[in-house]
């Protein structure tokens, strides 16, 4: 048994599965389900954040199915994530589940997970390259979907095409197959009938990574907003994130360097987690005259909650409506939809009032 459990990260799970493949392990990835959420919150301390409860849910489910290894990100900052691996391991041990969790990040050139699987050099790097290729393609598919969904004439067509593309991407095994798929994707999305005259709102999603990416946790917010006629931009892009981690000195609109610079009038420290990114992205949205920003975070998230007063200041300075959404295991779908609808109505009204036409 060489299975390894990987927590759900939305569509990026496909890329993670590919990299596990390259290591010679069989990935165990499951979409987040009510069962997993239940497994999670039953064993976790009450006031811990939602990602923790989901992680442990996934791991317990995997362990019950006989998976012996798991992998997760190792934090190294003031965020609670720093302790999550130890705490998760402890909970698993106490329940008598035999599972070892590997941590990623800050463990040297050859992290324990690589040491354990010890994949052949060539095979691993080739696989890793393909995984990267997949990751960038996922970004591309999503960007096309965000643009097309609010303008589609037949409701649900974009989602069908997106899912089809992602399924094929998951099945693609070699670099050539991925490239072939890449050449087809643009055509498939342009084949969708769209209403080109429709004036759509442009709203950005910023905040904490796992809530932004796990479609179960954010109640498929991208699809919900798309259905309401909103072009969404999800600001957690793994490609950008990796670039910021491995090449922190690069410059560019979304580089760490630039973000620190533009956030400086509001926030002069990195805080931890993605707090600085949330502020910087909101400022970028304000400059690019977006219609609004939705800030998503698990309820009680230390870094994201602490910057909320600052986010409000950015909102008033840039005349940019910000909707704050906290998520936990009790978040009701209907409640969220009502809030989103009210928010979007408000944005339409604002646009009418200001006579502001979107430049795209």
């Amino acid at each position: 048994m060489n299975k390894i459990a990987i927590p759900n990260m939305g569509n990026y799970s496909i890329a993670f599965a590919a990299i596990a493949d390259a290591m010679g392990a069989t990935p165990w990835i499951s979409p987040t389900t009510p069962e997993i959420v239940k497994l999670g919150y039953e064993v976790s301390p009450d006031s811990l954040c939602l990602p923790f409860k989901i992680f442990i849910g996934h791991f317990i489910k995997a362990a019950e199915e006989g998976v012996e290894y798991a992998v997760m990100v190792n934090g190294n900052g003031p965020c609670r994530l720093t302790y999550y691996r130890q705490l998760l391991q402890k909970i698993l041990d106490e329940r008598g589940l035999k599972m070892h969790i590997f941590g990623l990040g800050d463990t040297g050139i050859k992290p324990p997970i690589i040491k354990h699987y010890d994949p052949p050099f060539f095979k691993f790097w080739r696989g890793a390259l393909w995984a990267l290729q997949k990751m960038f393609l996922i970004d591309e598919i999503e960007k096309l979907a965000w643009k097309t969904r609010p303008r589609e004439i037949k409701k649900g067509e974009t989602s069908t095409v997106t899912n089809q593309c992602l399924l094929e991407l998951e099945a693609a095994k070699t670099g050539i197959e991925i490239s072939i798929l890449k050449s087809k994707i643009f055509e498939r999305f342009t084949a969708i009938n769209i209403n080109t005259d429709k004036k759509v709102l442009k709203v950005a999603l910023v905040g904490e990574a796992s809530v932004l990416r796990d479609k179960y946790l954010n109640h498929s917010m991208e699809e919900l907003l798309g259905g309401l006629g909103v072009e969404v931009v999800n600001y957690f892009l793994l490609g950008v994130e990796l670039k910021n981690i491995f090449f922190p000195h690069l410059s560019g609109k979304h580089s760490k360097k630039h973000m620190l610079e533009i956030a400086k009038p509001y926030l002069q420290t990195k805080v931890g987690g993605h707090a600085l990114d949330s502020i910087a992205h909101s400022i970028i949205c304000g400059e690019d005259s977006y219609d609004g920003v939705i800030h998503l975070c698990p309820s009680g998230c230390m870094p994201e909650i602490s910057i909320r007063p600052i986010l409000r200041k950015v909102s008033s300075d840039y005349d940019l409506p910000v909707l704050e959404c906290s998520f936990d295991e009790h978040t009701s779908h209907v409640g969220l939809v009502t809030r989103l609808e009210a928010y979007i109505d408000m944005l339409y009204d604002r646009r009418k009032k200001n006579g502001k036409e979107h430049n795209t």
Partner: protein
């Protein structure tokens, strides 16, 4: 130099960092001949103001900070809000403390003076000195103020150590900003006194410790103290935690397992702006009763 002329009154909110470093800020600014105005101690009024202005998902101490700042704004020239990154070397503080000046700047635009406390990079005494120089004071005055300020805290801690009672049966742990705020810990201590129970309150020494698993400064110290408890002498541990405290949510599990191994009874009192006095009383009474029964049973068997 321009700054030196304008600052006559500096306001320090009586929350968070005021309790982290007792006597330090007052001595520092008074040596620089700046009048220090403290906000009033937390009261029901502060709590009501806090719950109406502050971010609802924050913990109580951070909410109170906002209220203390608002109370001071009109009374002072500038507000002093340091950026706390780390108070002990190789450790870090709660991320909520590192954004304090940025948040305060929104409440009081143009009125905040700040400097960074980051023991990982620079010692507190040197950063204090640098801060005084930035305010426009000469090198020698800055040095004097920094030295005096740090000594004042040391003296405060030493005095407390000497006045410590030797025989104590219950141990109270919490973050300094909960512990020394009378409104938060007061009811617990009052109740213990009323029941004639001896207690000891945790002391924060801010000394360099061995590199361990816990990187949060105060949490690490609390944990160390719990490790050193003697099950023979200590009858029970009372932890006061604020609702939605991020650090505590992780650390409580660790504390619980440490104390379970030592078989010391443990109670967590969670407080927020709605905390009822009667609730605290009842829980404490029940806890102390159960500890007493446990001891009687042990004696009998």
């Amino acid at each position: 130099m321009a700054q030196k002329m304008t600052i006559k009154k500096v306001g320090i909110p009586k929350s968070l960092y005021y309790f982290f470093y007792p006597d330090l800020w007052k001595t520092f600014f008074e040596t620089l001949e700046i009048e220090v105005i403290l906000s009033e101690s937390t009261s029901r009024k502060t709590i009501e103001l806090a719950s109406s202005v502050a971010e609802s998902e924050n913990c109580l101490p951070i909410k109170l900070f906002d209220a203390h700042i608002l109370e001071l704004i009109d009374k002072v020239d500038v507000l002093f809000v340091p950026r706390i990154i780390s108070t002990i070397k190789k450790h870090c503080s709660c991320p909520k403390l590192s954004v304090l000046p940025d948040v305060a700047r929104i409440l009081a635009p143009g009125k905040v003076i700040t400097f960074e406390i980051n023991e990982n990079k620079i010692k507190l005494i040197s950063s204090l000195q640098k801060f005084a120089q930035e305010l426009g004071f000469s090198n020698s005055i800055a040095k004097k103020a920094a030295n005096r300020a740090v000594n004042a805290t040391k003296k405060h801690t030493e005095e407390k150590e000497q006045s410590k009672k030797t025989e104590a049966s219950f141990f109270i742990v919490s973050h300094p900003y909960n512990l020394y705020d009378d409104y938060i810990t007061g009811p617990v201590i009052k109740k213990l006194k009323k029941m004639n129970i001896s207690y000891e309150i945790i002391e924060f020494k801010k000394e360099k410790r061995k590199k361990d698993a816990i990187r949060w400064d105060t949490c690490g110290e609390m944990n160390d103290n719990l490790f050193q408890l003697d099950p023979e002498k200590c009858k029970g541990v009372i932890q006061i935690s604020s609702f939605n405290c991020g650090c505590d949510s992780v650390m409580l599990e660790t504390s619980r397992s440490v104390l379970k191994e030592k078989s010391i009874p443990f109670i967590v009192l969670i407080i927020d702006e709605h905390s009822a006095l009667a609730g605290v009383d009842t829980r404490l009474e029940a806890f102390i009763d159960s500890v007493r029964w446990k001891n009687e049973q042990n004696c009998n068997s």
